[in-house]
């Protein structure tokens, strides 16, 4: 009898603990949902700095929603040659030194902040654990920390600091298994307003560069090689042949994503027969390159070097039907 009472009391005392853990996770998830909502609905003008190995890239970012419910955005890199991204509704324009200005028909612009943050962020739950990690002070505001931890060790974790009042992003860090921060986005200023920022009003009146049409089937080309291994959750998105912008080297290209991280794999014939893997890091983004049996394989993306190497090693040429 005594044992039973003890047992019951133990069970009873355990339940609230479990429940509060679950509450905390739900709480963290609702924080992310609110972040996504705020990124879609608020008018704000903000600055942030992307801190990589030994340098920093400052950006200015305007965001607003006009009366028609269209999202207007301007994202400008403030150092070096001009790089601006403009977004009006579902047209995104890129103004860069390498290319004449062009527009793309897409929902989200491609910048330092992962697209998924303003999309269906909870879809990450499938491959990441979302857990709360307490409170902190960032940008003079009280912030809630949420950690997005990969279920697969072959990926990085993302830590986000969210503003307690507006739920907007105040800081983001990409962190490896040892807890070292490889790349950070630190917001340095944030203005939230009822009205659309003035420069967005100007954007609304400006005509954007012409939309480039990506030829049908360009991203679904049949390539004679496959990538056999990727960290869990990665799905194939694109396969095409193109020339690398600056070196003009023709490559075959496939890209993969798990929703948060994008990995590109490049394959081309090489002049050497073998070359050991070599890599560099640009913040959390690795570029790894090796030559195996006269085939050059490169992997680029925000994944640990071990994963990148394994992806490169797993590239397998398909035996074509033409060979007798």
């Amino acid at each position: 009898m005594k044992q039973l009472v003890l047992f019951i009391s133990l069970v009873l005392s355990a339940i609230p603990v479990k429940a509060s853990q679950q509450d905390a996770i739900d709480d963290a998830e609702s924080w992310l949902t609110q972040l996504s909502h705020s990124l879609n609905s608020l008018n704000f003008s903000t600055s942030f700095v992307v801190v990589k190995n030994n340098h920093a890239e400052p950006y200015h970012w305007f965001h607003g929603v006009n009366e028609n419910g269209e999202r207007l955005e301007i994202l400008s890199l403030l150092n070096g040659p001009r790089r601006d991204v403009l977004k009006k509704g579902d047209v995104v324009s890129y103004i860069e030194p390498e290319l004449p200005p062009y527009s793309v028909n897409t929902e989200t612009l491609s910048g330092p902040i992962p697209n998924i943050f303003s999309g269906d962020i909870l879809s990450l739950k499938e491959h990441y654990n979302i857990i709360p990690a307490g409170k902190s002070r960032v940008l003079g505001r009280s912030a809630q920390i949420v950690r997005i931890l990969p279920k697969d060790a072959g990926k990085y974790a993302y830590w986000v600091w969210l503003d307690q009042s507006s739920h907007l992003l105040l800081k983001l860090a990409i962190v490896n298994r040892k807890g070292q921060q490889l790349e950070q986005i630190q917001f340095t200023h944030l203005d939230i307003d009822d009205k659309i920022p003035e420069s967005l009003n100007i954007l609304e009146k400006t005509e954007l560069p012409e939309v480039v049409t990506i030829p049908e089937g360009f991203q679904e080309q049949k390539l004679s090689w496959v990538v056999d291994w990727l960290p869990s959750g990665f799905k194939h998105i694109n396969a095409n042949r193109h020339s690398i912008l600056t070196t003009k080297q023709p490559v075959e290209f496939q890209s993969f994503t798990d929703g948060l991280v994008h990995v590109s794999v490049y394959v081309s014939p090489a002049q050497e027969q073998q070359r050991a893997a070599d890599f560099v890091f640009d913040g959390a983004t690795i570029a790894l390159n090796q030559v195996v049996n006269g085939i050059e394989v490169s992997v680029v993306g925000k994944v640990p070097s071990v994963s990148a190497k394994r992806i490169a090693d797993s590239v397998r040429l398909l035996v074509t039907n033409n060979t007798p």
Partner: protein, 200 residues
Amino acid sequence: MSESKFETVSSLVDNYQAQDDSVLQDVLKDNDMADTWQRYHLIGDAIRDELPNELDFDLTDAIANAIAEEPTVLAPIAKPTIKEKIKAKVVQFSKPFGQVAIAASAAGMMVIGVQQNVASNDTQTPYQVADTGRAVGGIAEPVSLNFQQNARVSQEPTMAEQHRKFHALLQDHKQQLKISALATSEVTETPIQEAEKSAK
């Protein structure tokens, strides 16, 4: 007109008689005239054999320019927490070459920086890439700048080539993300997808 301007400077240099105060002010304001003033004094010193052993003509300006052009001025990294320290160690480990450069005296770096910046800064380096992987062998003394440069020259072709390659890859990766309509909007279907569906 400019001829007379320089004559004014000349006379000012020759016998520094307090002419009009406004003339002095003009000289101070005008960069050309200020340069001329400096040059005339230099010539004067040379004639009188009063030159110092070393002349650092416009080094100050060059350094100031280099600093202004330096892309890594902003660094709002938080306090050097323990994590930061660990990170710093890892960075050191992962880029032995950069390490040598850091070990070299700050002044030395500055001078090299000036030359490199002037030569090749502008459009080519939107992002810097940390060296990892291959260590550059044969660097004896971190202080010996000349030696370090020699080592770099001997490694140059492959190193530079690799660097360019990585740079191009990183850039292309970003570029592909931009035109990857599928990648950026998985949830909503793009016109391309719809077109394909209807085609099928």
